[in-house]
Point group: D2
Chain length 277, copies 4
């Protein structure tokens, strides 16, 4: 990893490779890292999150996966962020200590979702005084479509140095427009290179070109969402795009259908991108 | 109105002026038109919509208001769009015929909301073949935060001439980024001039400046939303900003509190806009 | 109608008969009244409610239907309750005055559902002091599955004389258990006689028999709900059960499919009721 | 435990006693068992469920608690059901094997709630062929207010031997009416004796008396629900009713306020029960 480098741009929410019988398969993570860097130009990963089925894994499996990503990412990736959220606070703390010990770039935690805080707060409000409470706090993965809240977060951040990474891949351009620093998502596993071209167009700014990329990414996502799209389907797409066998998901998820895979592949190949590839 | 002029830019969703005892008060619409044009640089209005409490009015009242807006808007406004939606299809048809007869620029209808169509469709899907079914179809007021759907609509529209006007005022910049043509909303009654400056900055493109305007507009809306913000409160804000007495809302809505009005006024006056006003 | 008689037992939420081209068809209401009384042993009706598509009708049509029900129900029905709710409060008041003038037994209004009161109240809380505010208040059609709220309503009512009529037909027995006085629903149009047998069993009390009826009623409703069940389908069922042509629904509702009608008829005929019919 | 005895009547969803610093406190479970049997006449417990904060505990803690309940319940309780649900299927299987090994009466699992099955099924449909797939399947804790579904379950069960235990404590009487066999809930920890009197009244049947108990139980629950009622508050109530220190909840839950405890105690003591206690 690259110490001190600010987290921005694209972060791939990685899937967890599994063997056909449902065991985790860390042996292909080396190949996965090279693929992300070379084929997708993506140098940041988010490990053991929802896309990685983190909450369906045991604590031991999560540690093993985090170790392998940090190990294989050395000198190749800029950031390896490890998701350490768990329903048991003790387990979450154990995972956080482990991530620190192995040299992960950072940790992330999902907000409590079984027992929940009793009142909803806007993310903007949550930021008040957060540096005093969590000095290592670096930023937020913002996955809501309420962009007013995101805009107020970005606004509050003028003097501080938080990163706001957007998590609704199909409307990233809209979040960039109001000041998001980057994005965390599963689509950057296989559409990272195209999304990077969108980021470049936006930076110029060439909004017409940026919009064209966003349209085409949305075209694919809109298509697969209608077919039923989740982590299992992401694994199937990643397998045919990268050539790395990502394996089946864990129960209660079930493998993507052959029909889904055939249709998704045909759709993806049918798209004519502005860069001609 | 200006015949043939494409509907774009800002459309004020007008409130319905009422007398203190709750009768409609068309006598101030002349003044309202001049205020919108001169103070807010807004030349399009959306009459009898949600902001105008259209569904709380009788058919007769709705006709009277539409007539007054069309009459007063002559040679001053570009477009007077009349909302004709009603739970009774027969009443809706009657209002549509009336709007055509008085020379309104267009009509709009809310989708059925008591008895509802049995399956949800994306707006994008709804556009398929719509010109064959509704030859006069001009566009959509899009009020969802699902911007993937909006982006696909805009994309489908490349060769056709539909207008996509965005209806979530607090995140208009995000919708512009993916190609919205303009906006319909209640805030353009009193923040139309500032929003026009945002549109100009976006057109340059000067995204940093556009974002600054969006932040500040969001700052005000975020503040009043926390206080409880609806049609009654919009009438109160409009009354103190424009100086035109907009009166109370109809039941089941109740008048904004004095406390709300004091706080909202103080907040609006505290904002320092980039144009120095 | 029977003046002064307390409203209890079953109330049929009537459908509005229409001609094939979608006009209201009051000419069959006389036949409809005789059918309810003779075949279903139901002597109370709820007119122009949701089942009657009241909100899709014009004010004039609603008045005409109310008049016909009151006229035909004279000396045959105990109660003709007219639903007078409308989005426009003025229209609702006009309908209420009309209902009083023609001698309806009572009126009912839906709570505001477009512009809504800003906080949810339990029905129980709503009853506090309601007699002071609405001296003619007689009771509530309770259509929620939150039976704690209903139980507390019934409890509050010990000394007063409100009627609590339950509106979720498929779980009426559960509401009776905690003290509901009767029921308003669309199924009493065609399963009124069977439901009356359930009420009799409950009154004995013979809970095993009551449960048997509830099971079988639920068996039919569960079956048609899976097929897609609404007002249009209720009209189709009523047409084949009563032999009275109820016609199509108004848009946005569309006619039940032929397939639905065939399946629903077969299901209803397949049920073996404890009374042997 | 009592082998072979059918699970019916009341099952207390137990809280997990904790020390003031948040560690589990199995030392009071012996006292807890005696209290339930002697004071509440409740002989079945549901351990490590939602009320027991099972999902906030580590696997090791859950095993330790299950062991203590089985050990202390020997010859005193009829059934000790251990909840073994977890987000990780492997952990859930491990807990299930452990429960079998220590001699628990049965296990229960929550349906997957992070990654969810892709379509909602009615419980009734789930029962089809379940004995072939899960030969040891004994019944369902049914916690929905959709009593049509419960009724159809009970109906399907005529020849088979499943238990349907209802989980919405405030409307148990309604579920009994349509055939529930008993109930699982947190209120049976402190209102078990009163609820048992309701069950007896219902069995006679004396519905008027049963309803009186349900009203009063609902009166208390309705009161505390308005104050904000969850697992933390249940622990507070249990502490003052039983005299056994149940301790604080685990984060993200926080301790009940002193104000809550004072008000809840006063309310509970103010209720005049039909049995004069």
């Amino acid at each position: 990893m690259t110490p001190g480098k600010k987290l921005q741009g694209l972060v791939a929410a990685t899937v967890t490779p599994m063997t056909p019988d449902g065991q985790i398969n860390p042996s292909v993570i080396c190949q996965y890292v090279d693929y992300l860097v070379r084929e997708q130009n993506v140098r940041n990963v988010f490990v053991n999150g929802t896309t990685g089925e983190g909450l369906s894994l045991s604590v031991q499996e999560r540690k093993q996966l985090a170790e392998e990503w940090v190990h294989q990412g050395k000198d190749k990736l800029d950031h390896v962020v490890v998701h350490v959220g768990a329903l048991s606070l003790a387990e979450s703390q154990e995972l956080a200590r482990h991530a620190a010990a192995i040299g992960a770039s950072g940790i992330a935690v999902i907000a409590p979702f079984f027992f929940k805080p009793t009142h909803k707060v806007r993310v903007e409000e949550m930021l008040d005084g957060i540096k005093e409470q969590i000095p290592t706090f670096q930023g937020v993965k913002f996955s809501d479509t309420d962009l007013l809240d995101l805009a107020q977060c970005v606004n509050k951040n003028e003097r501080e140095q938080f990163a706001f990474l957007y998590g609704v891949d199909e409307q990233l351009l809209s979040a960039l427009a109001i000041g998001a620093d980057g994005a965390v998502g599963s689509t950057y596993n296989y559409l990272g290179q195209k999304t990077n071209l969108m980021l470049q167009a936006f930076a110029k700014p060439d909004l017409v070109l940026a919009r064209k990329y966003q349209f085409l990414i949305g075209e694919f996502l809109s298509f697969v969402i209608k077919l039923g799209f989740g982590v299992a389907q992401t694994k199937a797409v990643m397998t045919f795009v990268s050539g790395i066998p990502m394996g089946p998901p864990r129960l209660p998820l079930v493998d993507a259908s052959e029909e889904f895979t055939v249709k998704a592949k045909a759709k993806l190949e049918s798209i004519l991108w502005p860069d001609g590839h």
